[in-house]
Structures are given as structure tokens and as C-alpha cells.
Amino acid sequence: MSGNWMSSTALTTESAEPGIPQRVYPTGMILTLGAILMFFMALFSAWVVRKGLSTSPLEAPISLPWRLLSLNTALLFASSGALEASRRFLRAGDTAKFRIWWCAATILGVAFLVGQFEAWRELEGQGIYFASNPDASFFFLFTGAHALHLIGGIAGLLIIALKPLRQLTRNTATRIAAIYWHFLTLIWASIFLLLIFAK
């Protein structure tokens, strides 16, 4: 396939280099997600144990910018929804709407990252930094690790949108990108719920 595959001509032809079966890619992505899941579970576990062992009054929970975090959560869910809508239009063969929704999902993902950065700045405004308190350390660690994974996801969305694909068909590429993106949305929802329960 040559040229930008988001262009209408590229989208009308389904082509990938022969050799590797397309089902290999989603399997590889699911196995990768297993590793990422265990990474976040290790952080959750460390946090639960650290909170349980905490005895000092100096280690009181920090006050988080809940309104901003809720808005960010809504943005990420909207991004996941836009990605799914985009895939639906792709399956229906509506390339114009597919492009619009794919870009919308990417922009919403970037908006989520900007919102998370703003939450960090709000905490810093209150004098809360990475090393201020175990709760603050874990908050920065959770959000930072999630943001790094999300930056990778945004890079993936942009690569799919802008670069020609050689070994993947467009359906496989959008499918594995969507699996990764929805997984990150669920991870963020888990972090958010954990933060609420730990209040």
C-alpha cells in the first residue's frame, strides 16, 4: 500500500503484504496488555500495602482536584466512544466520517493528557510534590505511568492515520489500536475508582 492510507483511494483497497496472518497482531496486543495489566496491578498492590502499613499522621490522604479528574475521565471515555464510532463507519465504508471520528478520538486523548498535566499543576500549586507524601507519590506514579502508555497510544493512532501500512490491513490496524485504547480507558477508570475509594 502506498501513500497516506487515510486518503479515500487507499481506504478503498484492502491490502497487506502476504506472509504474517492478520490474527497474529491482536493476539500479540492482548499478550502485551497482560504485561501492562500486571505492571499496574503491582503498583495497586504496593499502594494498598503502603496505606495499610502507614501509621504516621503526616501520611494523611491528599486532597485531589476531583472536578478536573472527573472531566478528564469523561474526556477519555468520549475518546474511546469516538474510536468505536470511527471503526463502525470504517466497516460501513463511510471514509469521510471514519476520518472525522478517528481524529476526534485522537484530539480527545490529547485533551485528556493536557487535563492530567493541569491536575499535576494544581497539586503543585497546593505545595504537593512527588516526594511530599506516600499518597502524592502514588498519585503521580499512577497518572504518570498511565500518561506514558497513553502517549504511546496517541503515537499509534497518529501512525495509523498518517503512515502507509505494509503488513497490516486497515481493519487489523484499527482493531488493535482500539483494543489498546479501550484497555487504557479501563485502567484509568480503575485508578480513578481506587482513588475515590481511598478518599
Binding site: M41, S45, A46, K51, G52, L53
Partner: protein, 75 residues
């Protein structure tokens, strides 16, 4: 199928034989630290272990189930 059942039985038997060693593991310092952490600390350690154990077991079970299903599908 029969071969898989034999392998599973052997694995379970090996694990059962290893159980007393599993229960006796852990260094003295870790044991004393855990014992001295109080009821709240011990509960937190239990929760921490479960948080690590459940997804790992689910992933392992999922992979085994996927291999088993694919194996049956290809036969």
C-alpha cells in the same frame, strides 16, 4: 485430551508434594516484620497479595483456555 489430563494430573501431584515447602518459605526477618505490623498491616499484606494473585491467575487461565480451544478447533 487424554494426554492433557495425564499432564495436568502429574502437575497437580508435583504441586501437592511441594505444598509443605511452600508453606515453610520466607525469611525470618520478613516473617517478623509482617507479624509486627499489626492486624491492619497484616490485612493490607493479604489484600496486596490477592491483588497480585487474582489477575495473574486469570491471565494464566485465559492463556491455557485459549490454547486448549485453539488446539481443539484445529483438530
Amino acid at each position: 485430551m487424554k494426554k492433557l489430563a495425564i499432564i495436568a494430573t502429574i502437575c497437580i501431584a508435583i504441586l501437592a508434594m511441594a505444598a509443605p515447602h511452600a508453606a515453610g518459605q520466607g525469611c525470618a526477618m520478613c516473617y517478623q516484620n509482617a507479624a509486627a505490623s499489626g492486624a491492619k498491616g497484616q490485612e493490607a499484606l493479604r489484600h496486596g497479595i490477592m491483588i497480585l494473585l487474582i489477575p495473574a491467575l486469570a491471565l494464566f487461565g485465559g492463556i491455557v483456555a485459549a490454547i486448549y480451544r485453539r488446539d481443539n478447533f484445529s483438530q
